[in-house]
């Protein structure tokens, strides 16, 4: 059940994204303890040093912090998590909007399609 990675970008950067998404989505709860490097490296089937590098980056972003001896924890700063979550959502929408525009859809048509999709979901 190892994780999948794209072949053209650094693995540590992709690990940052995957873990960040788990934090933003709440799968990893604020203040919660993260699995050890070794366990997570085995789960993802990646090199422990690469994972270490990904964690350092998440620490710099303020999403993760290390407590000596106790291990590594998710940030308790809910505002920080929420603002990153909104930022992420904005980017996702921009990406979607850009792709739809390049397919030649107008803003109105895009809204209609999204609404239709929402109605389908509700059924």
């Amino acid at each position: 059940m190892s994780w999948q990675f794209a072949s053209d970008r650094p693995i540590y950067a992709q690990l940052v994204e995957v873990i960040q998404l788990k934090i933003l989505s709440g799968e990893y709860e604020p203040g919660g303890k993260l699995p050890s490097i070794r366990d997570l490296a085995a789960e993802a089937a990646v090199n422990p040093n690469t994972l270490q590098r990904a964690f350092s980056e998440l620490e710099q972003k303020g999403l993760v912090h290390t407590q000596r001896t106790a291990g590594r924890f998710i940030s308790e700063d809910q505002d920080r998590i929420e603002s990153l979550r909104q930022q992420y959502a904005k980017q996702a929408v921009q990406g979607f909007y850009g792709r739809m525009q390049s397919l030649g859809y107008s803003t109105g048509e895009i809204v209609t399609l999204v609404t239709e999709r929402m109605e389908e979901e509700n059924l």
Binding site: S7, D8, Y12, A42, A45, N47, N49, T50
Partner: protein, 232 residues
């Protein structure tokens, strides 16, 4: 930085062929390194020189700062590409054999790994499949608390599930300051677990970088780069 494996102008000449040509290589601690190259590029020769199974025609190979010998064999765990366990042995006897030979062999760890694979200590090597034999040999090697592990084609002849098991065993068992060198040409399968890659081409090192460097600077996976560099 202290080096675990160092080659200085290392050269190996066989009667009709130059297997290694003035190779310079430095590997530090705490890394998983892929020694990659097509068949006949000198991977096994390099590993055998580090083990003291071959003597250099020129230059030096140093393990932990020393020429290969009794002291370096204590800290170096070697997985040859061929099966070498006597067929009449049972798995348990193979464990005892290693325990007798090596001070740093962790018996409890080896027994635990065997049990997890469902291999009985009474099973004979002779009756095991190729994949199971390779797993047993890997267990023997990885149960040693060594500083340097040299694994020659550890995933060569086994199915993808066994490959995953072997890679997981390597990740889970190498110690923080130890270095693991894996020689292979099956790059795609092992790329994610490597820190650094060394490309060996016709007895010369053509590239030595971290995996993420390759991806950042070349914008492609090590596997793709290998196919480009060694295109036939």
């Amino acid at each position: 930085m202290s080096l675990l494996l160092e080659c200085r102008l290392l050269t190996k000449r066989y009667p009709l062929r130059l297997a290694l040509n003035q190779v310079n290589l430095q590997l530090g601690k705490g890394k998983i390194v892929g020694l990659l190259g097509p068949n006949g590029s000198g991977k096994t020769t390099l590993i055998k020189l580090a083990n003291g199974l071959l003597t250099p025609s020129g230059g030096h190979v140093l393990v932990n700062g020393q020429e290969p010998g009794v002291e370096t064999k204590k800290v170096l765990a070697y997985l040859p590409e061929r099966s070498y366990l006597p067929e009449w042995m049972t798995a348990g006897q193979a464990l005892d054999y290693f325990y007798d030979f090596y001070e740093n062999f962790n018996m409890a760890k080896a027994e635990d790994m065997l049990a997890r694979l469902g291999i009985d200590k009474k099973d004979r090597i002779k009756t095991m499949s190729k994949g199971t034999r390779e797993k047993v040999q890997l267990i023997l090697v990885m149960s040693r608390e060594a500083d340097l592990y040299l694994l020659d084609e550890p995933i060569g002849g086994v199915d993808p599930a066994a490959r995953d098991y072997i890679l997981n065993t390597i990740i889970n068992n190498y110690r923080e300051n130890a270095t693991v060198v894996i020689s292979t040409h099956l790059i795609q399968d092992i790329e994610k677990v490597l820190d650094e890659v060394v490309f060996l081409n016709r007895g010369e090192i053509s590239l030595h970088m971290t995996v993420d460097q390759v991806r950042e600077e070349r914008g492609m996976s090590v596997d793709a780069l290998f196919r480009e560099v060694f295109k036939c």
